[in-house]
């Protein structure tokens, strides 16, 4: 179980302190899928990075399975069981898909095992296992490989930062199926997804709306979803440019 207690995060922007996250508290219980939504610039990605240890809060504590992890490194948090899927998957020169999945699993897994994770995210394993994780792969392919690394890692808490960003409609439909599968096999683990997509919010146990760095709404899916449908916090389908002002995404 993950607990955020009064988390705040300040950045120094042009010599002005700006509070990106303001006194945020919530819990991700075991066996549950929590979705965080809200307008762009509301602090969602920052919150995900604070949980993974990529950023450190200005104040507040993060407790994971009873242990205060606020001051421990990214590596140690990963070892405790926190997994993180980047919004923009990182590219590497020379590192192959198989290498990345093997590193993620933390074991000397076989090619067959690695392939099974790729198949789970809808990639034909044979075509991808030897590919380099570089710009020759499309946004959707990189995204699915990113998710496959999390499946291989089997974390106690999986954090997904906008899994739908930068992918095409076909990949998006496939992604929804992957999350459905993860939801069914959640058991003692938990999932935190940052997303605007109604179809992702629809499988959440609880929805948190983050606005201006603060929790503006929080509650069970059935209570929250009807109030945010049709806003930028819950986009019904893939409407081009509906959520990204730059219009860079199909989805």
């Amino acid at each position: 179980m993950l607990e955020l207690k009064n988390i705040s995060f300040m950045v120094n922007d042009d010599n002005n302190d700006k509070e990106i996250i303001r006194d945020v508290s919530f819990t991700v219980p075991d066996g549950e899928l929590i979705a965080i939504t809200g307008p762009n610039g509301g602090g969602k990605s920052t919150l995900a990075k604070l949980i993974a240890g990529i950023e450190n809060p200005s104040s507040g504590r993060i407790i994971f399975n009873g242990e205060d992890i606020t001051d421990i490194s990214i590596t140690d948090r990963a070892k405790r069981g926190i997994g993180f899927a980047f919004q923009q998957p990182v590219k590497f020169k020379g590192i192959q898909v198989f290498d990345l999945i093997k590193l993620a699993s933390g074991k000397n897994i076989s090619m067959t095992d690695a392939c099974s994770f790729l198949s789970e995210v809808g990639l034909c394993a044979r075509d991808y296992i030897d590919r380099e994780v570089n710009a020759s792969l499309s946004g959707g392919e990189l995204k699915r490989i990113e998710i496959a690394t999390l499946l291989a890692r089997k974390p106690l808490l999986s954090v997904f930062d906008e899994p739908e960003a930068g992918i095409d409609l076909w990949s998006f439909n496939n992604l929804i199926e992957v999350f459905h599968g993860m939801r069914e096999n959640i058991e003692d683990s938990s999932i935190l997804i940052i997303s605007h997509q109604e179809r992702i919010l629809d499988i959440a146990d609880e929805i948190i709306v983050l606005k201006d760095g603060m929790v503006s709404v929080k509650g069970k899916r059935d209570e929250v979803l009807p109030h945010i449908l049709g806003t930028s916090s819950a986009v019904p389908e893939c409407r081009k440019g509906a959520m990204k002002p730059k219009g860079e995404d199909i989805c």
Binding site: A78, F92, G94, G106
Partner: protein, 308 residues
Amino acid sequence: MLKLDEIQKRLLREVADLHKVPEGAYNIRSNGKSAGRESTENIEIIPREDGQGLTVRIKAGTKNESVHIPVVMTESGIKEIVYNDFYIGEDADIIIVAGCGIDNCGNQDSEHDGIHRFFVGRNARVKYVEKHYGSGEGKGKRILNPGTEVYLEENGSMEMEMVQIKGVDDTLRTTKAELKTASRLVVRERLMTHGDQRAISTYVVDLMGEGSSADVVSRSVARDSSYQKFDAKLIGNAACSGHTECDSIIMDRGRILAVPGLEANNVDAALVHEAAIGKIAGEQIIKLMTLGLTEAEAEEQIINGFLK
């Protein structure tokens, strides 16, 4: 009979992936002398009269055969220049594995300068693999100065893989190639330098024939206080295509100078160069840390992949 001690065997494994005496034609040079040699029906290895090198003749049409010519040096203070000439007959398709391993435990410099010339016949294909490796705790430097000349006849092709990852203190590599009609040269160089090492690599590729092509790519990592210079010049004298690329990671106080050069003397010459030098991207390290690796482990994986 071939007799090698444990250090020599280890060097052979490093430079030629050899665990035992190779199959096919070979010559193993150890501490300035031939330690074993074998010719085959199609591949003749003839020592030069002065003992300083070999002439290797590969018959026309020879397919799927290999030549191994590794060099190992374990005595401190040896300095040698070796001239090896390869004549590859028309339509042959072969692999040549060279490489030099120096173990210098003494205080005198050890130096091996291998001067290789390749005469590649019409339609012949050559894959050339050369690995350099140094070890030993002595104060004496391990120096390797390879000089390579490649002459490609019509429709000939040569693919060169050159690797120097560890332990060589000083290298000056010069590679020169002349390409006739429809011939093709591919170079993949991988280099890592440590400590105060210095590595200079110079290429001059002359694209003389119509339809000839060259692709010269170097990937390198400079760590500690080491220095590298990559100087690749492509000269397009006909309707040809050429690409050169230097992709480098610098760490610590490492320094790299990339000097890509293109010279087009024909309006149909298409030449491209790319050069990029930079430290490891922070996000790559962070990504691997989220998979449970420490920062140092992440760096190691990124470099291993980069030089793979």
